[in-house]
C-alpha cells in the first residue's frame, strides 16, 4: 500500500528539518559570536568530544541563556499550535478552523489585558509573573463557557453549535477587552504588543512553565490520530464503527486547548500557524491524520523557529512581532502551495 511505502520518509525528513532549524536558530542573532563557532562549541559540550570553538563565557551565555530558550520555546509554540490546529480541524471536520476557534485567544487576551490594566507595575516585584497564569486561566475559562453553552445540541448539530458558541464567547471577550482598553488608553501599546505575540523575552523558566502542558497535549493528541481518521466519515458513521464520538471530541478539545492556552500565555497570539502548517502538510503528505499530526508537529516547530529569525535580525533592536512575521511569511507560502497543487491535478 502506498501509505506504508513512500510516507515512511516524511518523518525522518521532518526531523532533519527541525534539527537544522534548531541549529540555525542558535547560530543567528544580532549580538554574540560568529555563526560557525556555535556548532563547534555545541559539539565541544558533548561528552568525549573536544573542539576549540574560541567562544568566550559571555558569548556562550548569549547562545545558551538568550538564544536557546527562545528557540526551544518557538519550537514548543509552533508544534503545539500546529498539532492543536490539525486536531481541531479533525474533530470539527472543518478545514478553516484554527486552535483559537473556541475562544482561547480572546479569553487569554482578556486575562492579559486585565493584568496589564489593573496593575502591571505592582506585579513586577512578585516572585511569579501573574500575566501568563491569568492569560492561561482566561483562555481556559473562555473555552469552558463555550463548551457549556455549545453542547446542548446532539450529534452533528453539537459541533456546529459549539463553533457558534465559540464565536459568541470570542466576541464577548473581545468586547470586554476593548471596553477596558478604552478606559485605560495608556496601556494600549503594552496590550497590543502582547497580542501581536513575542518570543523575545523567553527564558528557560518560560520553557519549564509550558513544558508539562505541551507534553500532555502532544501525547494525548498523538494517541488520537487514528481515531481522527475514523471521525472523517462523520459522527453517525463513526458511531456505527464503534467510536464514542462525543467523548473523543471532548478529550481532543481539552488536550488541544490546554496546549494552546499554555503557549498563548507565554508567547501571545501568534496567528496563522495553526491553519497554515497543517494545510501545507496535508497538501504534501496527504490527508491521513496519522501522518498529518506528527509531521505538523515537527514542521510547525521548524516553521516558527525560522519565522522568528528575521524578526530579531531585521528590525534590531525594535524587533518585529512574530505574529506579523508569521502572517507575512505564511499567507504567500500558503497561496504558493495551493497554486502548485492545483496545476498538478
Amino acid at each position: 500500500m502506498s501509505m506504508r511505502g513512500a510516507s515512511r520518509w516524511w518523518i525522518p525528513a521532518a526531523v532533519v528539518a527541525l534539527a537544522c532549524s534548531l541549529l540555525l536558530g542558535v547560530m543567528i542573532g544580532p549580538a554574540g559570536p560568529t555563526w560557525w563557532r556555535v556548532p563547534l562549541e555545541l559539539l565541544n559540550r558533548l561528552p568525549f568530544l573536544s573542539f576549540d570553538s574560541g567562544l568566550t563565557e559571555t558569548q556562550w551565555a548569549i547562545v545558551w541563556q538568550i538564544r536557546a530558550p527562545r528557540v526551544v520555546l518557538a519550537a514548543f509554540v509552533g508544534s503545539t499550535l500546529s498539532i492543536a490546529g490539525a486536531s481541531y480541524q479533525g474533530v470539527f471536520r472543518n478545514p478553516l478552523v484554527d486552535p483559537y476557534l473556541l475562544g482561547v485567544a480572546a479569553g487569554a487576551g482578556l486575562g492579559a489585558t486585565i493584568v496589564i490594566t489593573v496593575n502591571r507595575s505592582g506585579t513586577s516585584s512578585w516572585i511569579i509573573d501573574p500575566l501568563p497564569l491569568i492569560a492561561f486561566g482566561g483562555g481556559l475559562i473562555a473555552v469552558l463557557v463555550t463548551y457549556l453553552v455549545g453542547t446542548t445540541g446532539r450529534g452533528e448539530r453539537s459541533s456546529i453549535s459549539l463553533v457558534l458558541a465559540g464565536v459568541a464567547v470570542t466576541s464577548l471577550a473581545t468586547a470586554a477587552q476593548t471596553f477596558m482598553l478604552q478606559r485605560n488608553s495608556d496601556v494600549i501599546r503594552q496590550v497590543y504588543s502582547w497580542i501581536l505575540g513575542r518570543l523575545s523575552s523567553a527564558t528557560w523558566s518560560d520553557v519549564r512553565l509550558v513544558l508539562p502542558y505541551v507534553a500532555f497535549s502532544t501525547i494525548v493528541l498523538m494517541l488520537h490520530r487514528r481515531l481522527l481518521d475514523v471521525l472523517r466519515v462523520g459522527d453517525e458513521e463513526a458511531t456505527a464503527l464503534g467510536v464514542n464520538v462525543s467523548r473523543v471530541r471532548l478529550v481532543v478539545v481539552i488536550a488541544a486547548t490546554l496546549g494552546t492556552a499554555s503557549v498563548v500565555a507565554v508567547s501571545g497570539l501568534i496567528g496563522f500557524v495553526g491553519i497554515i502548517v497543517p494545510h501545507a502538510v496535508r497538501l504534501v503528505v496527504g490527508t491521513s491524520y496519522r501522518l498529518v499530526l506528527p509531521i505538523s508537529l515537527l514542521f510547525g516547530a521548524a516553521f516558527l523557529i525560522l519565522a522568528d529569525i528575521p524578526g530579531r535580525v531585521l528590525d534590531n533592536p525594535a524587533e518585529t512581532p512574530i505574529g506579523v512575521v508569521t502572517a507575512f511569511l505564511g499567507a504567500p507560502f500558503f497561496l504558493l502551495i495551493l497554486r502548485t497543487r492545483k496545476n498538478e491535478r
Binding site: 501509505m3 481518521d229 472523517r232 456505527a240 464503527l241
Partner: protein
C-alpha cells in the same frame, strides 16, 4: 448465524415520532427488507438499530439486549451502510476499507498485520484491487458503493444493515450490489436488514418484506403477500400493476392514470 429481535422499538425526534412501535424477529441468516413511502421511518429504524440515534424499546441480538453494549461492542455485531455514506476526499480505497476494522482496534492502538491482510483479502475478493491505492474521490457511484460494502464486510459483523444500498445506482449496478450482498450473505451466513425503494428488487432479493407507514408496521410477509396493488395504492398513493412471473418473481409496474379508467 445471528438472530435479531425488536420489541416495541420507538424512535422519537425533537418534534415528531419517526418509528412508533416496531416489533419483529429476524431469523439467523434471513434478509429482511423494510419498505414504505418516503418519511415512513425506514432510515430511522435502521439508524436506531445501528445505535446512531437513541431509541426506546428493546433490540436483542441472539436474545441479549443491545442497550448495555458499548458502541464498540455493537459495531462488532453489526455493520451499517448508510444511505449516503461519507467517503473522505484524499483517503485511498484501502484506507477506507481499513476503517471497518475500527471495532477491533483498541482505543489508542493501531491496526495489526492481521487487520491489514484481512482488508487486502476483502479488497481482492470484491474485485476492488484497482481502487486500493486510488483516492476515493475519483471513483464512480457504483465503485464507491462497492467500497462501502467492502468496509462493512471488513467489519466481520454477523449482522449487516443497509439503508437504501441501491439508491444512487443504475439498474446494472443495483443488480451488482445486491448480488454481492446476497453472495456474501450466503458465504458468511450474514443476517441482513435493509431498506429499499425499488419494490421489485426488494421482492427478488429479500426473504421477507415489512411495509411501514408513518412509523407503524402495516404489512409483513413474503413478497407475494405484501406486494399487491391495493396495499401499495393505500400506503404509497401509487397506481401500480403487480405481475406474477412464472418463476415466482413479483414485478411492480407503475401505470399511468388513464390505464385505470
Amino acid at each position: 448465524m445471528t438472530s435479531l429481535a425488536f420489541d416495541q422499538v420507538r424512535v422519537d425526534y425533537a418534534k415528531r415520532t419517526a418509528v412508533a412501535s416496531f416489533t419483529d424477529t429476524v431469523k439467523p441468516g434471513e434478509w429482511l427488507c423494510i419498505i414504505g413511502p418516503n418519511g415512513a421511518g425506514k432510515s430511522s429504524l435502521l439508524r436506531a438499530i445501528a445505535g446512531v440515534v437513541p431509541h426506546s424499546g428493546r433490540i436483542l441480538v441472539d436474545g441479549s439486549s443491545l442497550a448495555a453494549r458499548s458502541s464498540r461492542r455493537r459495531a462488532q455485531l453489526m455493520a451499517y451502510v448508510p444511505q449516503s455514506p461519507v467517503l473522505p476526499s484524499g483517503m485511498t480505497g484501502a484506507e477506507y476499507v481499513l476503517l471497518g476494522r475500527n471495532p477491533f482496534v483498541t482505543h489508542f492502538g493501531r491496526e495489526s498485520e492481521l487487520d491489514h491482510s484481512m482488508v487486502d483479502d476483502v479488497i481482492e475478493r470484491l474485485d476492488l484491487t484497482g481502487f486500493a491505492t486510488r483516492d476515493v474521490d475519483t471513483l464512480s457511484g457504483g465503485e464507491r458503493q462497492r467500497l462501502v460494502i467492502a468496509r462493512a464486510i471488513a467489519q466481520e459483523a454477523p449482522i449487516l444493515l443497509l439503508d437504501e444500498p441501491t439508491a444512487a445506482l443504475d439498474i446494472g449496478h443495483q443488480q451488482q450490489a445486491l448480488e454481492l450482498v446476497d453472495t456474501l450473505r450466503l458465504e458468511h451466513g450474514l443476517t441482513v436488514v435493509s431498506s429499499m425503494h425499488d419494490l421489485t428488487l426488494a421482492g427478488i432479493y429479500s426473504d421477507r418484506l415489512v411495509l411501514i407507514h408513518e412509523g407503524h408496521t402495516v404489512a409483513s410477509g413474503m413478497a407475494r403477500e405484501v406486494l399487491n396493488a391495493s396495499v401499495l395504492a393505500e400506503f404509497y398513493g401509487a397506481n401500480v400493476r403487480v405481475h406474477h412471473e412464472d418463476d415466482g418473481t413479483i414485478v411492480v409496474v407503475p401505470s399511468k392514470r388513464e390505464v385505470l379508467k
